[in-house]
Amino acid sequence: MTGVEFKQLFDTHFDAIRNYIWYRSGNPELASDVAQETFLKLWEKRPYTDKTKLRGLLFKMAGDIFISAYRKQTTELKFRMNLKPGFENRTPEEELHYRELKEKYEKTLSKMPETQRLVFLMNRMDKMKYREIAEATGIGIKAVEKRMSQALRLLKQEIQN
């Protein structure tokens, strides 16, 4: 693997890997650390793997690093997100509505079991297809579907009331 190839790999997958850990942990610093460590490890090992399998390998490595080094540290889950600039361009009513929705949404995500949250956010935020999620997380497509519907049920329940 050359430096150029590695940079390409980094640009293509870094965000997805970092988000993956964030979805699991809710901790942005930890997600950045784990993602960086994952890529450094890949650079160090430079496995002669089929290029199409590298993405799956990255997810697997990130998950392993997260579990072995940081799992125990995670104390309280808080899914806080920032609103991007430009949000203010909406009408005041809309803005209020979305701020309220965001708050409820973040609370629900913190309550949601990790497996459901992971699947839901990968699908809705990273726009990953069910098949891609199944490959990255190592579960079946049926399980992805099931977790999605479970997550939706919880969201509906929490946000509507």
Partner: protein, 287 residues
């Protein structure tokens, strides 16, 4: 607004959340570009570490391969053998790598390692041989019962299952038995090693009798009849059966080894009052 607090169906909820997703981001402190920059340094150290390891590993393999090849070559040099055998009735004189000669009596075997000779000149002998060397040579002759280290000289070794005997003609030889008994022989001295490793030493013997075989002569001095017949059988490549047990039959006498076997048998049988019959082309029975 109605929709403010009541989102009724799943589709609507998802649409709302997706609108939210578009304007939200995870509060990462650093963008991926900054992280890439930070990684560069760590990558460089890892790369250096890797580059250092790989040539070392390759060198290790090279070393291992070289050692293996060298060991193979040494083994070849050490154990590449040269063996000379003589059949019954056959005698051979050969030259050893150091220029000394070895006359091999009938039914004997001599082995040495020509490629290893300059490091350790060693000969293995079964049978009988007369060695004639230069004074600078210092090889050793190993047989079943003992080893003779040549301190430069000529000497005869008889190393068969029935006896082990060394006679020194000129110079000096050192005889060591399997049990580490040692004796140095000077000209005119003889050592006989028993199967148990004991060395019997005799002085002032007629050495010429002991290498007479190299001149195609039989010389027996009080030799048991059975041994005499065995020697005859070896030299003429025949089989001799002694059917009649003879008490205290030691034979003394000398005669040429170039006469026909019947004549030789006649000479030996007469003093004991024995007769022999030729039962086959190469088979004699003594009665």
């Amino acid at each position: 607004m109605e929709q403010k607090n009541h989102i009724h169906n799943t589709e609507k909820l998802l649409t709302e959340l997706d609108k939210l997703h578009v304007s939200m981001e995870v509060p990462y402190e650093n963008g991926s570009d900054e992280i890439w920059e930070a990684m560069q340094q760590k990558m460089a150290t890892k790369e250096i570490r890797i580059r250092r390891i790989q040539p070392a590993r390759r060198r290790l393999w090279l070393t291992a391969a070289t050692v293996a090849i060298l060991m193979g070559m040494v083994t070849l040099l050490r154990f590449y053998p040269h063996t000379i055998r003589t059949a019954p009735g056959q005698m051979v004189t050969l030259t050893l790598p150091d220029g000394s000669t070895a006359a091999l009596n009938a039914q004997s075997r001599l082995t040495y390692y020509p490629l290893w000779w300059s490091i350790s000149p060693k000969v293995t002998l079964t049978g009988e041989a007369f060695f004639k060397g230069h004074h600078s040579q210092r090889f050793s002759v190993k047989s079943d019962r003992g080893t003779v280290v040549v301190l430069g000289t000529s000497f005869d070794i008889y190393a068969r299952s029935d006896n082990y005997r060394v006679v020194c003609f000129t110079g000096k030889v050192r005889v060591t038995s399997r049990t580490k008994n040692q004796i140095v022989l000077t000209p005119g001295e003889k050592a006989v090693v028993s199967p148990h490793g004991d060395i019997t030493f005799s002085k002032e013997i007629k050495t010429r009798d002991y290498n007479a075989w190299t001149n195609h002569q039989f010389v027996f001095t009080a030799v048991p009849l059975a041994s005499v017949l065995k020697e005859l059988a070896r030299r003429y490549n025949v089989e001799i059966d002694l059917k009649k047990p003879v008490q205290r039959a030691n034979y003394t006498g000398n005669f040429s080894a170039e006469i026909p076997v019947e004549q030789a048998l006649n000479i030996i049988c007469k003093p004991f009052g024995l007769t022999f019959v030729k039962t086959d082309l190469r088979h004699f029975v003594i009665q």
